[in-house]
């Protein structure tokens, strides 16, 4: 039931991006009978085409268009053209994500109130509370089939989890389990159960992990109210003399420019592409970019305080077998400044295959110390740190002053430097992770630096006051009422949790608001 809308149809809602935010919003609006066109920069690759091979999959799915990384983070040196590891394909980064689906805690919506003013940080309370989002978290968990919610069983623990859990017990941690995962532990919603294949980051070839690619999008298409147009790379949003957006210009699969008219435009290209697009849409009326009267578009870029700890044991672990991230310790996810930092972090199981372990264990390292670590790959266990990082105005997605993409548009430069709070938190987490593995017999441990960012947040942040941020509590831009932001760039702060569940909850909530405002004739 593929629907095709005309380019000059100015009654459609145009959504830019088909990931957790855009794909969910598109389906929710279509279910309400609203006409939707999703423009997706990448191609449509169905789940049976995914590849169980790290580099081949990387080439198949990831966003490979030119970007730069700058600032004080180590990535700017190690991977100067790969600030982020995210996806350019229908389904966006929901093809690549690990599946961890956690709710923010109450205090994490009000960090300025709870943490107080912190030097160098641009903390702000969200204009919504946990109570506002709870009904939508419930809908999101049901939609995504999150384990340990809605009576869904947890996933079984794999080898990597067993080592992790044994270490957690030795350290006296209490709150650990195989996670709240949007991965089927049993058949549900027409999708099969996890087969413990590994390669969650390479796209789930069974469809057991929730992705908009094979849930929201086909469900939306089945209503006859949603068209997904792949290989459609939006380069500019246009507006009229009254300052309302009227449509978008995009490059089609052949590189030809097309103009799709729209009643409403929702930007959901993730926290790097969304601000880039708003900045690249500058006009004589909006010389600093669309929706940027606050000057906050692109600012406050967050990427979570991350890092990994890998450990070598005397005997085999085979950590790569089974679900990549089905393991979590939540004891450190609290605000306890006595640890030397505000905010908290989660520890989650993680593994890489040999090719990516070689690339990411200690980028640039060589010689016997490095090679001997890989020699023990079979005996390795691993975990990932996900902590709340401080929003800082200086950390920003900017337009590169010289470099242009294949369509002549300035590319994104991602400038990031850790806040001292981020460093203190990461060091604490490294110590805990290393102690955890040593408690169960690790002979060698590795505090591994952050990978290219998968949690990209905050660059069009939500604020009560138009002067503090880009969008209001519905994700509607303060400046232009028919322009919305529908992805993780809305996040005012990042909390200590993987962001996808919150992006989905916000998209469901935003769909209700858009439908209500359309019905009222306000937009």
């Amino acid at each position: 039931m593929a629907t095709n809308y005309e380019l000059d149809d100015d009654g459609v809602v145009v959504i830019i991006g088909s990931g957790a935010g855009g794909g969910t919003l598109g389906n929710e609006l279509a279910q309400k009978g609203i006409d939707v066109v999703i423009l997706e920069a990448g191609s449509r690759i169905e789940f049976d085409e995914f590849i169980n091979d790290e580099w081949d999959s990387f080439a198949q799915l990831s966003w490979g268009d030119l970007r730069t990384a700058s600032g004080g983070w180590r990535l700017a040196k190690d991977f100067p053209n790969l600030p982020a590891w995210i996806v350019k394909a229908v389904g966006g980064t929901t093809t690549h994500w690990a599946g961890a689906s956690l709710r923010f805690r109450d205090f994490e919506f009000k960090t300025l109130t709870h943490y107080g003013k912190i030097d160098g940080a641009n903390l702000l309370d969200w204009p919504i509370s946990l109570a506002d989002l709870e009904p939508y978290y419930e809908k999101a968990e049901d939609k995504m089939g999150v384990t340990r919610t809605n009576g869904i069983e947890g996933l079984p623990g794999n080898n990597n989890f067993k080592v992790f859990a044994a270490g957690a017990a030795k350290l006296g941690y209490k709150d650990y389990h195989t996670g709240r995962m949007a991965i089927n532990s049993a058949e549900r919603d027409g999708r099969m159960a996890c087969q413990q294949t590994g390669f969650c980051f390479q796209g789930c070839k069974w469809g057991a992990k929730w992705s908009t690619l094979y849930t929201e999008i086909p469900k939306g298409e089945a209503t006859g109210k949603l068209e997904v147009r792949p290989n459609s790379h939006v380069i500019q949003i246009e507006h009229d003399a009254a300052g309302k957006v009227t449509g978008v210009v995009y490059a089609d699969k052949d590189g030809n420019l097309q103009r799709q008219k729209a009643r409403i435009v929702c930007v959901a290209g993730n926290s790097i592409e969304s601000p880039r697009l708003l900045l690249n849409s500058a006009s004589s009326m909006f010389p600093d970019g669309l929706a940027n009267s606050s000057g906050q578009v692109g600012k406050n870029y967050m990427r979570h305080t991350t890092g990994s700890v890998y450990a070598i044991f005397e005997k085999p672990v085979h950590m790569y077998r089974g679900t990549t991230m089905a393991g979590i310790i939540q004891d450190e996810s609290r605000n306890d400044p006595s640890r030397g930092f505000v905010g908290g972090y989660e520890l989650e199981t993680l593994s890489l295959g040999l090719p990516f372990m070689a690339a990411f264990l200690n980028p640039g390292a060589w010689g016997r110390s490095f090679a001997s670590a890989l020699d023990a790959y079979e005996n390795m266990a691993g975990l990932w740190i996900v902590g709340e990082d401080m929003p800082q105005e200086q950390n920003a997605v900017k337009l590169h002053p010289e470099l242009k993409d294949q369509y002549g548009m300035p590319v994104a430069d991602v400038w990031f430097t850790d806040h001292p709070n981020d460093i203190a938190m990461r060091n604490h987490a490294y110590r805990q992770g290393q102690a955890l593995y040593e408690a169960v017999g690790a002979v060698r441990t590795f505090p591994t630096p952050p990978y290219p960012s998968t949690h990209n947040l905050g660059t069009n942040r939500m604020s009560e006051k138009p002067s503090d941020g880009v969008v209001n509590k519905w994700g509607q831009t303060h400046d232009i009422n028919n322009l919305f932001v529908s992805d993780g760039s809305q996040f005012t702060t990042g909390a200590a949790v993987n962001p996808t569940l919150t992006i989905v909850a916000l998209a469901i909530r935003q769909a209700d608001y858009i439908a209500q405002e359309m019905a009222a004739g306000n937009i």
């Binding site: 067993k162 005997k315 085999p316 085979h318 077998r321 295959g353 070689a358 010689g367 079979e378």
Partner: protein, 175 residues
């Protein structure tokens, strides 16, 4: 009960006889040949002597004593092919290797008997474009060879085998 993994080419018999491990390379006018390992690499863009030095250098950068030389030879083949098509690249590699040999002394880089001595030379040049070109390529061209994965106990693709749900995803038995 843990699923036992067999490392290829590491049977007791092969270890005792030495096999291809550490076998001497023969340099001819157009090729690098390893008689004991039964492989040869016909060079296109670079002199065989340069290629032999790159193979040694590759092993010194990522030293895995259980890996035969042929995997390092495969890993550096791309530089030879690229040098055949790109004169500037050929110059980068040839001058880099010449510099390495100069720094190593009278017998050149391969003439240094101890790995530590060769590594000391590599450390002098590790910030150069030449070294970074070799190392950054090698981290993919060596570790992304499916044939080397079993030496590290990495099993690769698993979908076609039905994942690990019945093949040891939770078989750890020593905790």
């Amino acid at each position: 009960m843990a699923t036992v993994y067999r490392h290829p080419g590491l049977s007791r018999r092969e270890l005792l006889k030495g096999g291809a491990i550490g076998a001497a390379l023969i340099i001819t006018g157009t090729a690098v040949i390893c008689p004991e390992g039964a492989w040869g690499l016909e060079t296109q863009g670079l002199p065989p002597d340069t290629v032999a030095t790159l193979i040694k250098m590759a092993r010194d950068i990522y030293p895995h004593d259980r890996l035969p030389d042929r995997y390092y030879a495969i890993a550096i083949k791309g530089h030879d092919a690229k040098a055949a098509e790109d004169a500037a690249y050929k110059t980068l590699i040839e001058e880099g290797v010449a510099d390495l040999n100069r720094r190593a002394g009278a017998d050149g880089y391969r003439g240094l008997g101890w790995e530590e001595d060769r590594v000391a030379v590599l450390q002098q040049i590790e910030d150069t474009d030449f070294f970074q070109a070799i190392r950054s390529d090698l981290v993919v061209s060596l570790y992304n060879q499916k044939e080397v994965w079993p030496y590290f106990g990495y099993e690769g693709e698993s979908y076609s085998k039905g994942g690990y749900i019945n093949r040891g995803f939770d078989d750890i038995d020593w905790l």
